[in-house]
């Protein structure tokens, strides 16, 4: 019997929504958009968490900037950066390479979900690794109530792979909130329509982002952040869900 699985729903009980930023393709900007989305939501006053599942190449901590180690309190309480509670294996492993095979990645995910105490969250943003391998499949299986924000670039190379991911998500019954086009100017809109997926908007290639990495204030002031905010609003994830009415 694996005691960790029993406690995961308990850890996520007070998390209203879970949005997984995924693409199937590497290098399209999932980490940047996921991290920026968390910062934008926090600025809007939401209680936000960010979970980095790219175990082989975690980098959301680079976008957010220096984060202290998680605090131990009957589990692990994630550190908060610019209003975002961050959990990443990089907070433990530092710069050391972390070569994990499939079963190890699954175990690491189960362990992280079982020990992390997110507390009350309006939104948990999950930065998925590239591909449709163990981490993504396990995230869909273990987090259960996930909704997907699909990220692509306008390149055919990205769209061909992302098309497969969209089919996988639909087949798995995962709600797809929509498609965000990164480093584009609206070229992918027609494709989203073909797929029957809501087109959330485009985020331009913004040279100002590179020098703003690690500085949440600067990042939030970029054009990329402004455009992403529109896309997130279209996805409907920038509002805290109404609390359930009290029982009669």
């Amino acid at each position: 019997m694996d005691p960790r699985l029993a406690v995961i729903p308990e850890r996520l009980k007070r998390v209203s929504r879970i949005a997984v930023f995924c693409s199937g393709k590497g290098g399209v900007g999932k980490t940047l958009l996921a991290s920026l989305a968390a910062l934008i939501a926090a600025r809007r006053g939401l209680r936000v968490g960010l979970l980095d599942l790219d175990f082989n190449g975690p980098s959301s901590h680079v976008v957010l900037g220096a984060a202290p180690a998680p605090r131990e309190e009957r589990g692990l309480v994630p550190p908060e950066v610019a209003g975002v509670k961050l959990m990443s294996l990089a907070l433990f492993a530092g710069d050391a390479p972390l070569p994990l095979r499939g079963a190890d990645a699954t175990n690491a995910l189960i362990e992280l979900l079982a020990v992390t105490r997110w507390g009350e969250l309006d939104l948990l943003v999950v930065d998925a690794p590239p591909g449709t391998g163990d981490e993504l499949l396990d995230a869909l299986r273990l987090l259960k109530r996930v909704e997907a924000v699909v990220v692509t670039t306008p390149s055919k190379l990205s769209l061909a792979v992302v098309a497969r991911l969209v089919r996988l998500l639909k087949g798995a019954g995962t709600p797809v909130l929509g498609l965000v086009e990164n480093m584009g100017r609206g070229e992918a809109e027609a494709t989203a329509r073909e797929w029957g997926v809501k087109y959330l908007g485009w985020v331009p290639y913004d040279p100002a982002v590179e020098s703003a990495l690690g500085d949440p204030e600067k990042l939030l002031a970029t054009e990329a952040a402004a455009k992403l905010e529109g896309a997130l609003a279209a996805a409907g994830i920038l509002k805290a869900r109404e609390a359930s009415p009290p029982p009669p």
Binding site: P3, G75, P97, N107, E111, V115
Partner: protein
């Protein structure tokens, strides 16, 4: 170390669905997870109150960690390699971090598998 409380909570939760009255819960602790047995037992005794496990006894067993290198095939133990306190603490929470901190003592590869002694397993006796 207070991860033991999270672990105790997980163990109690995982046994909620067991129908029969439980007399004995055997807990196998992997060496890699570096769990403090005394704290875990204390937490279990505290958390079992008011649950179906109120009358249960807990027995702990330690399983030594053993590794096998995927590159050269060497088998080794945790005591064969040096591990710092900070690294032990990190592996306590996520044992897979061993892949960031440990290397095969024969060939230096970080590509190895944990053959035994990784996590926590629970068995019940009615």
């Amino acid at each position: 170390m207070v991860h033991e409380w999270a672990l105790a909570e997980a163990i109690i939760k995982s046994l909620e669905g067991v129908g029969e009255p439980v007399k004995l819960v055997r807990i196998l602790l992997g060496e890699l997870q570096n769990v403090d047995g005394e704290i875990l037992l204390f937490a279990l005794e505290e958390l079992k109150r008011g649950t179906k496990l109120e009358g249960a006894r807990f027995a702990l067993d330690l399983e030594p960690a053993e590794f096998e290198c995927n590159a050269c095939g060497a088998r080794w133990k945790l005591s064969d390699v040096g591990v710092g306190e900070a690294e032990r603490e990190a592996m306590h929470f996520v044992p897979e971090l061993a892949h960031a901190f440990l290397r095969c003592p024969s060939c230096g590869s970080p590509d190895f598998k944990v053959v035994r002694g990784r996590g926590v397993r629970v068995e019940v006796e009615g």
